[in-house]
Assembly symmetry: C2
Homo-oligomer: 199 residues x 2
């Protein structure tokens, strides 16, 4: 029967509408703003209907996560296709990764567990700058006798911080790697950056 097909198509469309509505809500008000009732409002149903399509809220997040990975993969492939040399491809791919993170900020957040909601004021907390300053000072000293500019120190500091914080969050949120690999990555990165400062 053709009506069966039509109904199946409508169901599939609603499944898709739920995801679209969710992403819309999140883009407007952040992940905290996402609720089953708001999704229902958006698709003009009541909340329990959503459970006919997704077993719970987590399943919706999971589906968005999946879509995120597929979109990221597509953009990585496109970036790769624009070059022939592996070195150029790799560079382009990581820049594509970077661009994806900010173009699809909300997807990136749910894919890799990056919080933004909580404690907006933590940015302005003076205590948060103490660790920064401590390390900053040592970088300055390491540069001596050359007196590094603000920018030079800043770049080195963020390079350090990024690689270490990145490795930490990857291990906390996603499936990280082995302790041995972690240590190897850390050691090599730190000594590499130190060399790049001294040299």
């Amino acid at each position: 029967m053709a009506s069966k097909d039509r109904i199946l198509r409508l169901k599939e469309e609603t499944r898709c509408n739920i995801l679209d509505a969710s992403l819309k809500i999140v883009k407007e008000g952040g992940w905290d703003a996402l609720s089953m009732r708001k999704i229902a409002d958006e698709i003009e149903y009541t909340a329990p209907i959503i459970y006919e399509y997704y077993s719970n809220k987590g399943a919706i997040l999971l589906e968005l996560t999946r879509k995120g990975f597929l979109l990221l993969a597509k953009q990585l492939e496109e970036a790769k296709a624009k070059h022939r040399l592996p070195a150029k491809q790799l560079e382009a791919m990581w820049f594509a990764y970077w661009d994806f993170a900010f173009a699809e900020k909300e997807l990136y957040q749910v894919m890799y567990g990056v919080e933004t909601s909580c404690c907006e004021m933590a940015k302005k907390m003076p205590e948060s700058e103490i660790p920064t300053d401590l390390i900053w000072d040592v970088i300055v000293e390491l540069m001596l006798p050359h007196v590094g500019t603000e920018d030079e120190v800043c770049i080195k500091y963020y390079t350090f911080w990024s690689v270490i914080h990145g490795l930490i969050s990857i291990n906390m949120v996603n499936r990280g790697t082995t302790d041995a690999t972690n240590h190897e990555v850390l050691k090599a990165a730190i000594s590499g950056i130190i060399r790049s400062i001294k040299g």
Copy 2:
């Protein structure tokens, strides 16, 4: 009056107990498990009492964040004090930073917006490995004619991923740096790692 002092001391103690109770709850059940009523239970009061000490839940998180930064700073200083050469100091400080993140996992999470709760299954999602595989392949190719071992590729992959994901999350959650600095860090890191692969 001495009783005034005693009361003030008791109040200060309760303020502290609230933080201790919060951290205990979080360590037992993660950040999602933290609620005003559970904190109240723990300190043997009812929920509204907490609002006499902290204006809202966010203020408690903020205070824990502050304590986290101070503890991290202390450990960085201790690590620094163990060495004389700036290079050795820097190395020791970043390793101390690493250790802090896992020893005080819950504090690190709230300090730097690292989620763990949501989507535990996302780790096992096959789609999450597609971007990894795409980049992995290019790293392998870049190593040619030398055929890199699993470990060699893994270390390079995680080095790339860490620095880029780290820079992204720092910019999303904490106060990042300028676009120019970001770009500089990215460019230098990527070409640095590529050089370390080829050389």
